[in-house]
């Protein structure tokens, strides 16, 4: 299964491009799931039908869904709250548990919700040939793509520190009681940190696996869009993620910008999507558009 992210500045045509790719891939016989994780969904407009969090088959081989991020935040908080209530039961006497509701305003929860939704889609639909994500605008996308690496940095330091503490505790037990300490084996905090490391390592490996995970940056032929795309390129390189394709949407025939792109984004293929004056709504419009790209290249 291959995972493709369509990313770029807001309004450059990420949803249209991802819809077009998903549609053409399905037409070529592949099984494709297209999931919008952008809080401002557009896929229902492009496919001209109602969509929600469960996949809807648009044509044979193509299922489309729009993930409700608020629901993921709520689900996550519900699970956390359940955990809290089990530990801090005494707080219910003061009705303190209702203050847990404020957790939903914690910074960073939105990108974590995106990550949860993404992980769920990849796990649930791993029998598809392609899972394509129409992502939110740059800031949020870069944050959730960086989240596994950032989390791993923290967790690896925390696990080392926790092990040092537990080792010392085991030494004390040995000196005092003359028997081997079991803190290292039993500590629930250490176990949970280790489990989290496994989860984030899998996600990080998936993101860095350039053969099976592809990032397509969509941009328009203008300065602002170019500048933001450069930023995405640099940030993703820092995360050891590569960008095999750039879609130059609304291309007006100016080849000089393509030369700039090929110079700035080394090793990246530039795909030109010509300016289209008609609105792209419905399957007929998608049928008419030519991708000018060999879809088999995605299999490499």
């Amino acid at each position: 299964m291959k995972v493709i992210f369509f990313t770029g500045k807001g309004g450059v045509g990420k949803s249209t491009s991802s819809a077009l790719f998903a549609y053409k891939l399905a037409k070529s016989g592949k099984r494709v799931i297209l999931n919008s994780i952008d809080p401002a969904h557009n896929l229902h407009d492009i496919f001209d039908c109602k969509l929600n969090f469960s996949p809807k088959e648009i044509i044979s081989g193509l299922s489309v869904m729009e993930t409700n991020l608020d629901q993921w935040v709520k689900k996550y908080l519900r699970d956390t709250e359940k955990d809290f209530k089990e530990v801090y039961k005494y707080q219910e006497a003061f009705n303190l548990h209702k203050y847990f509701k404020t957790l939903k305003y914690s910074p960073g929860l939105e990108e974590y919700a995106v990550l949860l939704a993404l992980e769920d889609t990849i796990k649930k639909y791993n029998n598809y040939d392609y899972v394509i994500f129409d992502t939110p605008p740059t800031a949020l996308t870069l944050k959730f793509l960086a989240l596994p690496s950032v989390s791993l940095l923290w967790l690896r330091e925390l696990v080392k520190f926790r092990q040092m503490i537990l080792n010392k505790k085991d030494i004390v037990t040995k000196i005092k009681d003359g028997k081997k300490g079991t803190e290292l084996e039993k500590d629930p905090v250490l176990k949970r940190i280790e489990n989290l490391i496994v989860t984030y390592q899998q996600l990080s490996d998936r993101f860095e696996d350039s053969r099976n995970t592809k990032i397509v940056v969509v941009m328009n032929p203008d300065k602002l869009s170019l500048s933001e795309s450069k930023d995405i390129y640099t940030r993703l390189n820092d995360l050891k993620m590569t960008i095999p394709y750039i879609i130059l949407n609304k291309f007006k025939g100016d080849e000089s910008i393509c030369e700039t792109l090929e110079k700035e984004f080394k090793g990246t293929e530039v795909l030109r999507f010509p300016q289209n004056d008609t609105e792209i709504v419905g399957l007929d419009c998608l049928d008419e558009l030519d991708l000018a790209f060999d879809l088999n290249d995605f299999d490499d």
């Binding site: 530990v87 974590y112 330091e157």
Partner: protein
């Protein structure tokens, strides 16, 4: 009488051993307590304005760390008198 004397001597050396082991571990235990405090502070740094891990890591570990939180709050009370705490430990050794 002889048996009782032997028993008292054995108990004396046993207690001596226990006291020595206690003394030997006091500083390590203090160090462990400090390290646990730093660990909790690293994890819940946002409470005190320190950089902290992404919030989902904190939230996932928080339910397991009731004791560590207690330690933080105890530390708040004793933090102003660190010197006394150290001399206390050294006095015990």
């Amino acid at each position: 009488m002889f048996k009782r004397l032997v028993s008292v001597i054995i108990d004396f050396f046993h207690d001596m051993g226990t006291v020595n082991r206690e003394n030997a571990t006091t500083i390590i235990e203090y160090e462990i307590e400090e390290m646990e405090h730093i660990f909790a502070l690293l994890l819940f740094g946002s409470f005190t304005g320190m950089p902290s891990p992404p919030v989902h890591i904190t939230l996932q570990l928080l339910p397991l760390m009731e004791k560590d939180l207690e330690l933080i709050f105890t530390k708040v009370a004793t933090a102003h008198d660190g010197l006394a705490e150290i001399t206390n430990i050294l006095g015990e050794v």
